[in-house]
Symmetry: C2
Subunit: 184 residues, 2 copies
């Protein structure tokens, strides 16, 4: 895979973000605390509003990210494809409390434009997010994020996202069909 | 498609429900008010807890289901596959305020065991749900549902769910891969 820099990415209009999140891909969530980056794998997320895009997500209190997100109020949702599925799973299997997972699994952090958390160069899309509602964090580990800026890699023609089905089984995005939907 | 009855379905252990919701399929949400069933298409949902399974979902106040769910505190999440994708989209395109959508689109309601909302016979899986938290309904149209009972059609060997990508484009679930995940 060629080395990607921010100049290779294209800003995605915020009103299009739902098209990335709605199909339910496994994502990476990156954070940064005192300059130290971290990344976790996440599948429990949903769109909550089209524009400005809101994403709701569940991040367990057992994850290092839980406290860092509450403290910094910033993260990046990075959307990987099947080419790096193994790195994503290894991020999910490892705690970031002692390990720089991005470095260990050779994922390249890129400076984001609006938050201190890094983009992940190898990911198809990256969403810079601000925490806007943590009222359900104590009871449900549920956070509401607002997407401030979205990036997409225009060199990827067919982004085969991965979708977790439990017990180490992942569905890979298949063919697309077009139906006369009046849904947005 | 052969006619399915409740006897053809198998109860799914509640701890397995996340394996259906987590990959992000388009689902139907059925309700019943005064014996009158309704169904809507929904893509904005997330798992929130493994067991008892909690599902968070966004249902717009523009949908008839919003008020009915708040009133009856019950619904069924029915998970369709690509074979009935066109019916699902037609449910999404039509308001249930004046039309019995299940009848119009030839979807078969089956009596559920724990709620008055119907199961959908043609769907691969059906989750009987109770509304347990509507505190975020006003601000975000967000509801927390508890799955009381889950049914799966054991005759389906390969359930090709559909995943909304916006503008009438749907991704059909592709191949599965296995990776050594420690995620549940």
């Amino acid at each position: 895979m060629k080395q990607i820099s921010l100049a290779d990415l294209r800003p995605l209009p915020l009103g299009q973000v739902y098209r990335l999140i709605e199909p339910g891909p496994v994502v990476l969530v990156t954070t940064a605390l005192h300059g130290r980056p971290n990344a976790m794998a996440m599948s429990w997320h949903t769109m909550m509003e089209f524009e400005p895009p809101l994403v709701g997500c569940v991040i367990s209190g057992r994850n290092a990210t839980f406290e860092v997100l509450k403290t910094t109020k910033e993260c990046v949702i990075a959307i990987p494809t099947v080419e790096i599925a193994e790195k994503v799973v290894r991020c999910g299997n490892t705690s970031g409390r002692k390990v720089d997972k991005l470095a260990r699994f050779r994922l390249t952090p890129l400076a984001a434009s609006r938050v201190k958390a890094p983009l992940v160069a190898e990911c198809y899309a990256n969403l810079e997010c601000r925490l806007v509602d943590a009222r359900m964090a104590e009871k449900y580990n549920f956070f509401v994020l607002r997407v401030l800026k979205a990036w997409i890699d225009p060199s990827r023609k067919r982004a085969r996202t991965i979708h977790h089905m439990g017990r180490g089984v992942f569905m890979v995005a298949g063919r697309t069909i077009r139906l006369p939907s009046r849904m947005k």
